[in-house]
Amino acid sequence: MGVSRDESIDRRNLRFIMNTLNYKPTIGLEVHVQVKTVSKLFCGCSTEFGAEPNHNICAVCTGQPGVLPVMNKKAVEFTIRTGLALGCSISEHSVFARKQYFYPDLPKNYQVSQYELPLCIKGSVTLPSTGKRIGITRVHLEEDAGKLLHAIGARELEYSLVDLNRTGIGLMEIVSEPDITSADEAVEYLTTLKSILRYIDVSDCDMEKGTLRCDANISIAKPGDELGTKVEIKNMNSFKSLHTALLYEIVRQNETLSSGGKIIQETRLWDTDINETKSMRSKEFAHDYRYFPEPDLVPFKPSREWVTEIKTSLPELPLARKSRFVKEYGLNDYDAGVLTAEKALADYFEETVTSCVKLGLNNNDAAKPVTNWITTDLLGYLNTNKKDISLSPVTAVNLAGLIKLLTDGTISGKIAKTVFTEMCNTGGKPEDIVKSKGLVQISDESAILKLVIEAINENPKAVAEFKAGKERAVFAIVGAVMKKSQGKANPAVVNKLIKENI
């Protein structure tokens, strides 16, 4: 049982352990994402995150008696957009339904959701690493619930506080087929799905803010056998939780069956504090949601013209863009994957290359350095400073400018790094930084010659060694020249002049 608790365990080790288990997992994910609309699903209240509790509320979303829902058409559009991006077919006749259960975060004590006839059905997500397709059963639209507060900081309350700001925000439920066969695959599926949803700009998919949530259904069985009893896992609020919780559950269920026990159909909660799943309710206590069609909303019939219009407006999706990057820019698979994971980053890459071309470089000459600068320097900086690419102080045009200065020999590679750091700190243009700090590379032989003579005179030992045939001794003299020039001397010229004058 220690497997899932030990977070430091090596991945290869883990895979080995997984392979040795008798029963193999079958996993399906149920993903909820908040749609990125300005107002809530059925009223005009703001969807802004982080407002004072119970600030973004009205008679409708607090479920006052007598109020009626009015559908936010943008939310429907986003759901259809999602369906199309996932290759789903869009229902010609879609119905909203009431899902009934009592809980204080749900003011009406029913959630307007979809049951039969969801907006989108039957699609798939292709995993980049293997090309495996994970089926999408359905995508539907529903309203989010509010939040309950049981403690303030560390202080447990004797009562619970209800915040209804989130209540009524549009929520898409994306249900996968049970096509996932490992925790790794589950994480890759969710990562890929998130990438697509962010590409098509329908959701922020921020797990920390709760705009992306994920539940899993998992059962295990011996290969070839019928599917085992399904267990639902909830409350995994990070990619890491998803991974660890699934590993835990695979091992737990294997241990249960191997020791002659039975898996019971139940809902289990992932507890991040102790890294275990805990039983929440078993099937006997499962909710009967008493779904029935929502009489306050008329059935929704998206016109085919509208669906076509939405389809036409879809951007190039991550997988397609990745293959195009490989083909068009000669990138390797890995780099292309990194660069196309986020639409904003891929856009940034292409904008930088375009700027380089405008500055006189050709496409292929530009792609390589642009890739390197982005994947190592820029992403390094952004990750360290927890910044999004959209907030990068280094613009695509400026990065292109830096690459141009480097390739035409105006600055050395070493200086380029200095300039880049300065660009990150100030957001300045590379030409300005180079000029104001006097960082232009010195290639003028007469200027360098003076320093070379000085260095030769000051390093007789190295000169002697070099003359005695020790080629490497020249580096000491080169170093001395570079030091004198504050790194600005063109290293090629320095080398040449030392050898001529020694």
Partner: protein, 491 residues
Amino acid sequence: MIDTKKCSVQEIVDNVKTNKVSPSEVVGTYLARVKDTNPKLNAFVEVFEDSISSRVKELESKLADNPKTLGALAGVPIAIKDNIAIKGKLCTCASKIMQGYVSPYNAEIINRLVAADAILVGRTNMDEFAMGSSTETSFYGITRNPWDLDSIPGGSSGGSAAAVASKMVPLAIGSDTGGSIRQPASCCGISGLKPTYGLVSRYGLFAFASSLDQIGPFANSIPDLALLLNVIAGHDTKDSTSVDMQTPDYVDAIQKSGDVIKGLKIGLPKEYFISGIDKEVETSVRNAVKVLESLGAEVVEVSLPHTEYALAVYYIIAPAEASANLARYDGIRFGYRSKDAADLLELYEKSRGDGFGPEVKRRIMLGTYTLSSGYYDAYYLKAQKVRTLLRQDFENAFKQVDVIITPTCPTAAFKIGAKMDDPLQMYLSDIFTISCNLAGIPGLNIPCGFSGNGLPIGMQVFGKHFDEVKVLQTAYAYEQHRGWAFPGMKV
């Protein structure tokens, strides 16, 4: 001084606009009647004393500015059923569970009434959550029939009907889910209309059964009824089931009644003239039809073959929707909350257990049951299918005729307490009114006589979807030529 109680609503409006009578005189006359009569009837559960005087001042200053700017109901007092939201006023559905609830918003029709310069006089009694046919299940006690204090006024909008019939107000608003406007209108001898589903916004009507509920008007005459309908009908973007269409001027339309009635085809459904229906009721309705025939209408028998299933379908669909609609009354955010609950589940159980009356609980349980997993297909889904058949019955009949006439109730108003212990008998009071809600068509009650006991008898007129015009024209043609007079009212 002009006796406003003898005026039509249009005359009140005209007199107010021409300064022949002031809003304060109008409302004063009616309030005096309320003061005198309401203690005997208990039609009003609250009279808006404070807001009436400020409202009157508002209208009088508007009059002083420019009388022409006043709306279609200038200075007309109106009563509102206790299940329609008025901002800043208690709104309780006559239930214990909603005691103390002050609405934070206005129903759409309240906005329209206020914009038309009507004066909201008070809220009227009703069966708890509009579930009943007698106004006997109210938290505020029973309402009495102004024609016989020992009889029920009908329900669930019994307070509104009794208030209009006793002339405490010239107009009132009710809601009708299975007959809750037409049946009390029949019992109290006034006009009442359930509009086509989607004609009047439901925004602000505390939902009972969303696919059946409609707000509608009560009045003492068809012209008054048409005038009120003019104000409240029309599309509302806040109600997705409200239909986006241009509504006709119903007051104008009824002026053409005399011409329209000539050659109008009236259908009498054989399923509504059955044994078990009171002889006096049948005779009154048939006599009224003869009046229309004498005016040039053509009368034919029609069939609505699925009528016998209407009651069963209704008592599956309405409680199912109610069980969800009433879930929000949980003691968490508003209304009654039990003080001795140990945990969340107990809070729900005790608040709802103590807060709802027996009839409401019965329907919540019925609805919860029929929507349960494993029963949905057999009950709810099947009921929806039969509902479609009922709707088709009307569509087919309306291929032959323009309007359909039936009795509104099988009997005149029954005695208080007579059916309280027998829910099934109580449900049967609505047997003639229920199909109309299931089909979504308009239905109107107009008085067509009095029983030997001095109780009113009502005739029901159905029309095609959104054909309120023909329904009103038929009723108005009859009203002008009915050939009998109302007896004097004792209260």
